[in-house]
Symmetry: D2
Subunit: 417 residues, 4 copies
């Protein structure tokens, strides 16, 4: 078995998506599961130099106290998405990872998320001190495990929105805000991003929170020759929007209204039940229709928290459209899927792709990951197929150098043995 | 107003799709309706030399006796898809077209279609005599109206399938079968195709019937430097399959089963209620999933005739798929749309595109029209987006010559004045 | 033809439900339509002495300026629910009724409804003066037409809720509040109710507004030996709730959550788009589940205004329930129906039943009408079947006296000739 | 713990419904599960003298070889409806019951069911010999366990239909057919019924097979002073039909068409995939609409076997109806439920009710069980609520004697100790 040398640092490591990714990665390492749901396992990505699952090792930040194993068991009991057998088989890995979990930050996350936090989470730090502490946690992990690279992924609960346009454009100016907790307008997700990128690690923002979605933080990434991308994983209803809206556009069918009603009951849902947090999400789910269609139909996006549904997110979409001679017609769909089961493999995929981008020396925004996100940074293309073709082109473009890099990797593997 | 000089010859001219196309074309000529549902009105097809709606003039074949105006009125009363006002405004055109309708053929169409036919339809002809008669009808129309080109579109009811592979590969051999009504294995749709192509006209098979879908008839088209394409217009449920199946493939979600249940009640439905005719349709609706996904999920396609639904085809699709860790999830959709309203503009679009292909000198199968068909001839690409990009590339490739041809057209316009 | 002598006074007479009821009544009088949707036409109500449609004559109050005929035409054009032909045939009746429409009141109805009102609506009156004016309008109608009885139906837009429990319990106390516009906590719907009941007319509150739903107003009805009932017509989604929830109860299936998402775009929807008005409606739609099931599942009821949907209300309900061994299962339904088409016949039915109750000498709340309402006054039975059986029992109980009364009616008919 | 003395004899004891009933009964005995899904646990049935779950003991017939425990585990693994923990806790009971399973019969069941059978199933017997053998199996169980009564339930796969009207009306005549395997037109289900009723046991036919649904077999039941009922458990889609169709009738909404499309993949589905067997089921699911509505709308009932769905039966129903002024509207529902989880508790409920009917001395058809069946014997009432009220009336009518019988039961309990 290959010696693992790439680190995965999960922020919100005890949440549903993280737990599923951890159990899934353990299952992949032991060949206990197939490749369903994993984009990076598609044929077109098989010979471009992606690392084996065995070469990844997990740690992370968390603000809640419960043990990882308990959270995974809860996921199994409440949602029937992970079998008890699989959890048993991953048990040693879960216990190991538990040792590597460090307290995160709840800086400026709002009352709903704060209320979930363990009392131990440091709360008297300045933003700069928090960043320092988070960065140290990551650096310790890299050093202790002799990691070649670390990919940090934000999977923490959705924060209330920040008026990004009011933030300074340059890192120099932004950096000056870090000493005053009162005046610093950023939230936890951006502190994590700064800690990660400032440490030279890659950063992926899987949530609608601000994270690294700022010119000043992009500048930081470029300065440290590292890379980042986001935001808000495109897993279900919005994925369908980005697939179906182009069809209406291609056929010149005029969308009159598009209603999307989402119900679910996991912790993500509990946090989104706070209107302040929800607005980040609905905005992210809604904007792409206008950008794909070229006009703004009437839209409603609602998200309701129903605890009995657990991780099983159900979306009902009703699309009212006019065809030839103005005749109104209707498409409705219902999407019933486990949010964690959809999201976790995409997180693993993006970590693999990001690690490859690191070896390719790519810096700044990883726009080739656009198909994974509801609101891809720096990107007005929202059609899923076009976004996916960007990923394929990127993969193909790097296939030759991929082969070279496989050799490099083999060398590197030898070096660390 | 420009002098119309392109003929449209509709086979099954009193059916729902044809009636809607006729009323719609009349409305377009008078600017009484918008461009919704018309692909050829999209921005990317605006400067490639397509003709104005005013330049088209309609005639066709039919086997039923009722007047065109009555059929249009029935469409309005039963299906609420065309307003009485619009029909009134098209009345003069309907009466004019009525004069140009000629009796079609029911050669070998099976008992269900035959039972709909008027007693006057000639039934003692050999296939060769029928073809001669049909060709003469078309030629008379071209001559009487001084048409520059004629596009023939098959909109007649779906025939029972023919074992196409058992038919001779060359036109020489096929041609020999035309004298013996007993031995000729083709059905009406192919006789229409032979009449059209043998007369140098373009031929489009919008139905699942065999039509021109034979090497021997393709050879005939090439011999007479004309063009054809089919088959089976992709308007609703299958369109969605060709849009959604790629999404499952891209995300490596494993489709376990795909059930499609279609209910509707127009004349098309009445004919498909005969199992012999239905098999042509369900085969056409079903095969593409395996071709897009690369494996065969469990599938069911059913079509049921419910007279009360009229032209409003409702499809319920249930897609059962496995994601990460093998977890089963579900997508369901319901599509409620008027079949004629979806199909009619596509017929008009393809006529415009075909007329342009004629001026470009394109011969044989028009594969750039693949996105319009459930079973595009000579084509294994069934993903809608990829098919549509073929249309866009064709349009762009011809844009320059398009400008030249606009001039040609203008000249031609002058010539005929 | 029998001489009409029963008056129908519609409050909000130019709204969708009223317009549909008016056109429908005209069609019924001329035998231009069948009995679909009319409860009072069921066999079990055929020999209990209900009056013929010909004996009813319509007038009403309105706050908007547009003509009745224009509103009816708009209904036809936007919603395709009434044919142009039918409108033409009702034209004389519409013009006649137009002459009988009087300005209503916008007392305390909130800004959203007020903004729809014509400038002519008197706004400087005290509540007492308004009641007087409204009562005079009704009395004039009764006198002018020689009516035997008048049934007043509130079909006006939904008002914001009133804290009914804070209102005085007796009419004597309530009556004292009528002189001070500032202190009178009632809204327009209750002023109409007081005007109607105080005039000895029957009153039906088809909306969720407070109307006659107060002990003090019920006292007024009893004092004047008249009758009233409400509130909030049960036409679609809530009807289904009252039919399906008992099934879950009967089978001991444990409802975990019931989500109802309603979208529509008529004027009712426009007014409900104001959260203050919407709360009256969602409360009315939501409470019955707990009362039928005996426990409170998680519920969401949302109503969204999508102007493109017009009168076509679409409801998606998602019911998550646990069965044997705690296994979670799901029922979803989609209800697509024209609100006015569902409501209008119920309005006509209740008018017939109410008129009969008047002849029977019934006074106070007409609980036998419970099956027509989402929130039937003084009633904890919300199961539709049980409510309907109350109507059947009432009908049967009165069948004998019904026969007597038929004679009375015949006598009365003679009298007026 | 009370001494069990009532026997449950399940025909098809290794099928999904039986396995779920067995595990569920074990869980109820140990208080490991709640009462969800159990009708007999409703408040109105609490003081009528029903026996405790602890007093029931299970045995049965089966034609397949696999062990009960394996079948239960498969149910858990494939359908996620029973937890592994619960199975573990029921393990001793499963092993005990395994010892009491006897080979059934495949007499005349058709090739699809026969192909599932174990080679050991006796196949050279005459019907009379088979009945004798089956009766002996039941008698041995009663004797060995000292049972006070035995309730036999047919849960075996659906047989092809039998032309019941061609069978003799009297037992004397029917009995004469039992010696000739070639001429005996009955199938296995009726042989089981004869064995049970002839042995004085109660018989419940939960399937659409003929079973005891014959005058001649009803005569046999009466002769032996025992009781029986059927057929075809009403668990899902048809239950909804019997709840929703009355609503359309009550509101005088005219049902134009009702389409029901059912998909599932358990063994029941596998057998129904044979058109000969399927016809028994679709007939049973379809007839009640006409009987409830009083007219025959267009209907389609389809059942498709999709192995990937396992026990999760999904039904999509599309109801097209006309309301006031003939306006067409639509209700659609999707029902997603585990067939076994819905059916098993009803089986247990009916066993309890039947045992009570035995103590009450009721003989012949148990019409008070109509609400549990799609095609209740001797019953034209198909409305669920009315059927359920029959059960409630029966329960209430027996409540007093129920109290007496509780005493009897206590005495009986003492007697057997």
């Amino acid at each position: 078995m290959a010696n693992p040398k790439i680190g995965i640092w999960l922020i919100g490591i005890k949440g549903g998506v993280a737990c599923t990714a951890i159990v899934g990665l353990a299952a992949l390492k032991k060949n206990l599961t197939g490749s369903a749901g994993l984009v990076s396992q598609l044929p077109q990505f098989q010979h471009i130099g992606l690392l084996d699952w065995n070469q990844f090792i997990v740690a992370g930040h968390e603000i809640r106290r419960a043990t990882l194993a308990d959270e995974v068991l809860r996921l199994a009991a409440e949602n029937r998405i992970v079998t008890e057998k699989l959890i048993e088989q991953s048990r040693p890995e879960l216990d190991e990872i538990e040792q590597r979990i460090r307290p995160g930050t709840i800086f400026n996350v709002g009352p709903t998320i704060s209320s979930l936090a363990d009392a131990d989470i440091p709360s008297q730090e300045t933003p700069r001190e928090t960043i320092e502490r988070l960065r140290r946690d990551m650096a310790d992990f890299v050093r202790d495990k002799g990691l070649e690279h670390l990919v940090v992924v934000n999977l923490a609960s959705t924060e209330p929105p920040v008026a990004a346009e009011s933030l300074p454009e340059s890192w120099a100016e932004l950096e000056r805000l870090l000493d005053d907790s009162q005046k610093c307008p950023m939230r936890a997700s951006s502190l994590y991003a700064i800690a990660a990128l400032g440490g030279g690690h890659s950063f992926i923002n899987f949530t609608p929170s601000l994270g690294s979605g700022l010119p000043a933080i992009d500048e930081l990434a470029r300065r440290w020759s590292t890379r980042h991308y986001g935001c808000d994983g495109k897993t279900g209803e919005t994925l369908l929007k980005s697939v179906l809206a182009p069809m209406f556009a291609r056929r010149n069918l005029s969308v009159l209204s598009w209603v999307g009603h989402n119900i679910f009951g996991n912790m993500d849902g509990q946090v989104l039940n706070d209107p302040a947090n929800k607005i980040s999400k609905t905005t992210s789910k809604d904007h792409l229709l206008g950008e794909i269609l070229g006009y703004r139909p009437n839209t409603v996006v609602s998200i309701e928290y129903l605890p009995d549904l657990g991780d099983w997110k159900t979306a009902w979409d009703h699309i009212h459209f006019a065809g030839f001679l103005g005749v109104p017609m209707t498409l409705q769909f219902t999407w019933q899927a486990s949010d964690s089961i959809l999201a976790a493999p995409l997180v693993l995929d993006m970590i693999r792709f990001t690690e490859l981008a690191h070896r390719r020396g790519q810096v700044g925004q990883m726009t080739f990951l656009a198909s994974f996100f509801k609101s891809p940074y720096g990107m007005s293309e929202h059609r899923f197929e076009q976004q996916f073709q960007m990923l394929e082109h990127w993969a193909k473009a790097n296939a030759d150098s991929g082969r070279q890099n496989n050799e490099t990797r083999d060398l590197a593997n030898k070096k660390t043995k």
